[in-house]
């Protein structure tokens, strides 16, 4: 059993917390795990990617290549298009329906693609698209978008709810725990 999960988005959206949570869950389940992150320059509003790989055997490479991801969690619509080639043919793409224009689009030197969801579905991708930002605001803070997304991803994985809750406790400051539990539950409600 090997699982390859990618978390992609725009620097500053909170993907490091998401991968930390996932790492905690996988460890509780007793798997070998590797998590590969991006630090430094590309964090400043650039395209960022985190790889999480786990297995009941040893995990060798910390990175995921084209066609190898079982699940891709995209915090932003355009980033889903950038990384879709990394998805396995029977993989799942979980996408936050939020658009953040990159600088070339703001400058008018490039176009933000239209009807991204339609085009992704046209490829035959198993797409789960929903407005995680809106749900995070409903839970009390837009910054909890990452946790909403993890709630949705939990549906596509086999780990028991207690493990996710324990990971939340480990990864989130106590004063934000209630808010994040609510955000996680709202993500979980996305079937």
């Amino acid at each position: 059993m090997n699982q390859n999960i990618m978390i992609v988005g725009v620097g500053g959206q909170g993907s490091l917390l998401a991968s930390k949570m996932l790492g905690h869950v996988v460890m509780q389940a007793g798997y070998d795990v590797k998590v590969s992150e991006v630090h430094g320059m590309s964090q400043r509003g650039g395209s960022v990617v985190t790889y999480v790989k786990y297995s009941d055997q040893k995990v060798w490479s910390p990175v995921i290549n084209e066609g190898e991801a079982d699940i891709i969690i995209s915090f932003e619509l355009l980033e889903a298009t950038r990384w879709v080639s990394f998805l396995k043919k029977d993989g799942t793409l979980v996408v936050n329906d939020q658009q953040i224009a990159p600088m070339p689009v703001i400058m008018g030197t490039a176009q933000y693609p239209e009807d991204v969801a339609g085009k992704l579905r046209g490829l035959g991708v198993n797409l789960k698209l929903f407005d995680a930002l809106h749900l995070a605001e409903k839970a009390g803070n837009a910054k909890a978008t990452n946790v909403v997304l993890m709630g949705a991803v939990a549906n596509a994985m086999d780990f028991p709810e207690e493990m996710w809750q324990k990971a939340l406790e480990e990864c989130v400051p106590p004063k934000f725990l209630d808010l994040n539990r609510k955000a996680f539950a709202l993500g979980r409600s996305q079937k």
Binding site: V10, G11, G12, G23, M27, D32, V33, K34, V35, S36, E37, V38, H39, G40, M41, S42, Q43, R44, G45, G46, S47, V59, W60, S61, P62, V63, N65, E66, G67, E68, L78, E79, T81, R82, V84, S85, F86, L87, K89, I100, A101, P102, M103, P104, V105, I106, M107, G108, T109, A110, Y112, P113, K119, L120, G122, L123, G124, V125, L133, A142
Partner: protein, 580 residues
């Protein structure tokens, strides 16, 4: 107990367990977290030094003084620290000295792709290269043992993938070590010719002994699989190869990449049919193999440039390409940008408008080179903005000095900008230098530095005054501007460019990401006043775009800095309360 640790965290854990007592480093991606994590252990004295040369000298001094010591840096930091490194190889140590260096194949966050293994070879010091977090912890501990056993500094070579990947690490106890006795010994520690000559003999003998150690070193491991294919690799490339080839190959995993073993490689080569050397960047292992008469396939097949992956190795060996999803349109690039509210933005906007030559430097502000700000002509290395501008203006004369500036961050100024400024002052240059003081070392993720008033451990300390440093080295014209105030900033730059003496402008405002910086509510566009002229886009703020002919502010990004309100000629951008 096993913990999930970043490679850099695991190095820090190894330092702790090895009884390391002193850490001195300069931050640099991807090495920074080693020192940040080491600083969390109360038992370790840890500091940020002004630059890598100082850091290495502090660590060497501590090792001579009898405490196990470490200094960490990125690959280009070794260029700065090379001077003490090469002679520390001669003097050797007392307690162990380990130098952590993190290479950046693929240049995720660097200005070049140099291979630090050459430094270990030319300084004649051993170098270990871990392949995951577990290795990172155990090799850090082994490095101290080797340092003391062979009386040499030991380099620990990390790379972006190892430094910034988490994997499981078996946690151990700290070994408490007594302070080693220090004995005055000029023949060992005073490296003048009379003592250095015999020391060079010692170094060559030591290299022979280390080569012999490499033959049986427990971290140079053979894993037998099918012998049709043999692979020699180290670090992350070993992991990639193992993922691709599994049991279909045999592996010689080199945990020690300098010096390299001879018989071990020859014996391994004799038992496999086809032997590949898979190494990122330069052909260090391959060249060694050829030198000892072992036939290998290396750089004929694998690239000299960039980061490897399992896919790259699979394609080079088998030429197979996976059938993958392809998005049917060109996907726009998303380059990194200066953050919303970044104090550097106002300054670079003004520089762009003034059309001056900008001699740049290393930091977040290097992003000022990108469109639409496009306000940077050169970026070479830490500190080169100031000295490079001086040379540029000597070559091109007074007129050039009236149309050019250097830009350098606060931490970079302390690192190696001051010496360049002294050169301008001493040699009667008239260049204008702008210090971008955002009260933190930004790009590497908010490290304290000598100008911030806090130490690495968070303790308050004396602040180095940039103004006073400039005055002290002979710069009489020193002034401070707020880069959020475009008019004030423009006026100051024009005035200083006009005078025929050297000047320093300090563009001062804290980084917008600092926790103590209070943000204003997001600004609003008055859509009736907005003409869609797009002037506000010229400063490259990620929070502003134009949709359907009107400016739009993304209120999840906007921090209300107000710089855009100074650009708008129609008063269309205002506080939420002012416009409806």
């Amino acid at each position: 107990m096993k913990q999930l640790l970043l490679g850099n965290e695991a190095v820090a854990r190894g330092l702790y367990e090895a009884g390391c007592g002193v850490v001195s480093s300069y931050p640099g991606t991807p090495s920074t977290e080693i020192t940040e994590c080491a600083a969390k252990y109360e038992e370790i004295y840890a500091e940020w030094a002004p630059n890598e040369k100082v850091a290495m000298e502090v660590a060497l001094g501590a090792a001579i003084g009898g405490r196990r010591a470490f200094c960490g840096m990125k690959h280009v930091g070794v260029n700065v620290a090379a001077d003490p490194l090469f002679t520390a190889s001669y003097s050797g140590v007392n307690a162990g000295l380990v130098i952590g260096v993190a290479d950046d194949p693929g240049m995720h966050s660097s200005q070049n792709e140099q291979d630090s293994r050459h430094y270990a070879a030319s300084a004649k010091v051993p170098m270990l290269e871990p392949a995951d977090s577990e290795d990172s912890c155990t090799y850090a501990k082994l490095a101290f043992e080797l340092s003391e056993k062979f009386d040499t500094p030991v380099m620990l070579r990390m790379s972006t993938r190892i430094s910034h990947s988490q994997s499981l690490v078996e946690i151990g106890e700290r070994q408490e070590l007594p302070l080693k006795e220090y004995q005055k010994n000029p023949a060992k520690y005073v490296m003048m010719p009379a003592f250095a000559k015999p020391k060079h003999v010692v170094v060559e003998k030591r290299t022979e002994a280390l080569r012999e150690y490499a033959e049986t070193a427990p971290i140079n491991q053979i894993f037998w699989g099918d012998t049709k294919i043999g692979v020699i690799a180290a670090g992350s490339t070993y992991m990639y190869a193992r993922e691709v080839l599994g049991d279909k190959a045999s592996y010689l995993k080199l945990g020690m990449v300098n010096p390299l073993p001879v018989r071990l490689i020859q014996d391994f080569a004799a038992k496999v049919d086809t032997l590949y050397v898979i190494e990122e960047l330069d052909d260090v292992i391959e060249t060694h193999c050829r030198k000892i008469g072992v036939k290998v396939i290396g750089k004929d097949l694998f690239p000299w440039i960039g980061e490897f992956s399992q896919k790259l190795i699979a394609e080079k060996l088998f030429g197979k390409a996976e059938d993958t999803y392809t998005f049917p349109e060109t996907v726009p690039m998303r380059p990194p940008v200066l953050c919303a509210g970044c104090p550097h933005r106002g300054l670079f906007y003004v520089l762009n408008q003034l059309k001056v030559m900008v001699s740049g430097d290393i930091g977040c502000y290097t992003l000022g080179a990108s469109a639409p700000l496009s306000a940077m002509d050169t970026t070479i290395c830490m500190g080169a903005s100031i000295s490079g501008l001086h040379g540029f203006n000597i070559a091109r004369g007074e007129e050039s000095a009236a149309k050019s500036v250097a830009v350098i961050g606060d931490s970079t100024f302390i690192h190696s900008g001051i010496t360049g400024l002294i050169d301008i002052s001493y040699n009667q240059g008239i260049s204008t230098v702008i210090v971008l003081d955002n009260s933190i070392t930004g790009m590497t993720g908010h490290q304290q530095n000598p100008t911030t008033g806090y130490t690495l451990k968070g303790d308050p300390t004396a602040k180095v005054s940039i103004e006073k440093v400039c005055n002290a080295v002979g710069i009489n014209r020193v002034r401070v501007v707020d880069p959020y105030n475009l008019e004030e900033t423009r006026k100051a730059i024009e005035e200083e460019l006009a005078v025929k003496e050297p000047s320093v402008i300090i563009s001062r405002r804290p980084c917008a990401l600092l926790k103590y910086v209070k943000h204003n509510p997001p600004l609003k566009i008055d859509t009736e006043r907005c003409r869609g002229c797009k002037v506000c886009l010229k400063m490259g703020c990620p929070a502003i775009s134009v949709v359907n002919g009107k400016a739009v502010i993304d209120d999840t990004l906007c921090v209300g800095c107000g710089v855009c309100t100074e650009l708008c000629r129609f008063g269309a951008i205002g506080k939420g309360a002012e416009t409806k």
